[in-house]
Amino acid sequence: MERDKLFKLIDLHLEEKAGVPSNRELMWESLGDWQMDSLKKLGLLPDHKLLDVGCGPLRFGTYAISYLTEGNYFGVEVWEPYMKLGQRILEEFKITKQYTMRIDRDFDYEVFDEKFEFAIAQSVVTHLSVHQIDKLLKTLKKVMKSGGVFLFTYINNRFPYSVYYEMEEPMITPCNLDNSFFEELEKKYQVKFEKYPKGLERHPTGQAVASLTF
């Protein structure tokens, strides 16, 4: 990313009290490119509806909103300052298409009253407890179309870590996300698990990548 653009993003984060400089800005393009490329390889088309779980300040939103038909992007995020920051970032990127974003802590995606062909969670499952992952799947099962694909990244920790996001949000990382864990999810939610879906590039941060097909 050009230096000026990088520092503009940092300024916007500060002005909206959303965060100090971090990997969010440094990896803006590498992550966004990877997400867009991966979803396209999995079949994302402009007229599909996409749910971006943990959408942040619309980093991937800047790619997805531009690509999708107007109104087909839906983002959810727990960190409130990202709501306004997301708007300002889209203005900065001169993206005027309609989108929907809401602050949500309860995995309440039925509120959109939509059915999605695709969902993505980039560095989100990495910060969810096993209990929360189950809750996420339970909700996705209700809002994903049959054949819909949920792409996510994760880290298979040996034990749970805690994360203190921005010294504001306590979070728990999951552990033991091994094959048997996902086999259980497959049975429970009648989904098909695929680790490192064929054709996708390695994740820029080295996180594991997987998909669940509903």
Binding site: R3, F7, K8, I10, D11, L14, E15, K17, G19, V20, P21, S22, E25, L26, N156, R158, Y164, E166, M167, E168, D178, N179, A208
Partner: protein, 268 residues
Amino acid sequence: MNSVSHKQFCLSQDDLWEIRNKIYHSQGDGFFLFKGFVEHKFTEHLVNYWSRSLDPPQTHTLFPGKENAFYPGCPCYYKHGRSTGLKIFYNPLWSNRHEVVSNEIATSIIHLRSQIEGKAFTREIVPHIGQRCVIPRLIITRNGQNILAPHTDYGLDEPDPKNIDLARVQATLFLSQIDLDYAGSGFVFTKNDGTKIHCERELGIVPGDLLIWRYNNQHEIDDISCSDDQVGFVRMLFPPEVITRKGGNSSVMESVKYFLRKVKRKFF
């Protein structure tokens, strides 16, 4: 904001964002000065202890060089430049058991800094091999040219991308006064707009003031001089140092275990 001190260092949200804007925003200065962070009796104590009372070999080991110096349980180190009078004390919190005031003040500054950086305070105060840990440093500079060459830390030009961290700030606790205890350039900092500031003179810094500054902005010290009856440029810094294994090498067994763990995580 004036109430922030080494005894009261938890920032309100309003203060925190004001400080962050001044440090990180492109329109900000790149630094924030906490006036009177440490009271006079403490600065006097620290100067007396480190400059006048201590015979370093009694409590500190001669600094072996930065590579592999810092490991869990490592001792306090000192460096002494005989010709320039430079003294540097590296005081890991776990080993500096002889000067408790330095530890207490260091801890308050590390905590204050962690709030600004938005990172957990406990992250870098306990040594973990392969990670960084703050090793408080007390420096007495007396005479010399090109004391600290202009450079940046953790910036976009870091050769190893994993060292890039634009949130990093460094803190300088000033313990002596320019034009009274020493002469010369003092600490020269490049602001976010690219202009240079001679911090002590232009900001009116006195002993006990704490300057928190953006680590990836250029900083330097051109020259310092003092006479025999002056104490010199005395300050504390709080660099996060890489922690290695004692001796610096990991055993073959450890390497094999690490490799197996990686394989297990990838495939099972």
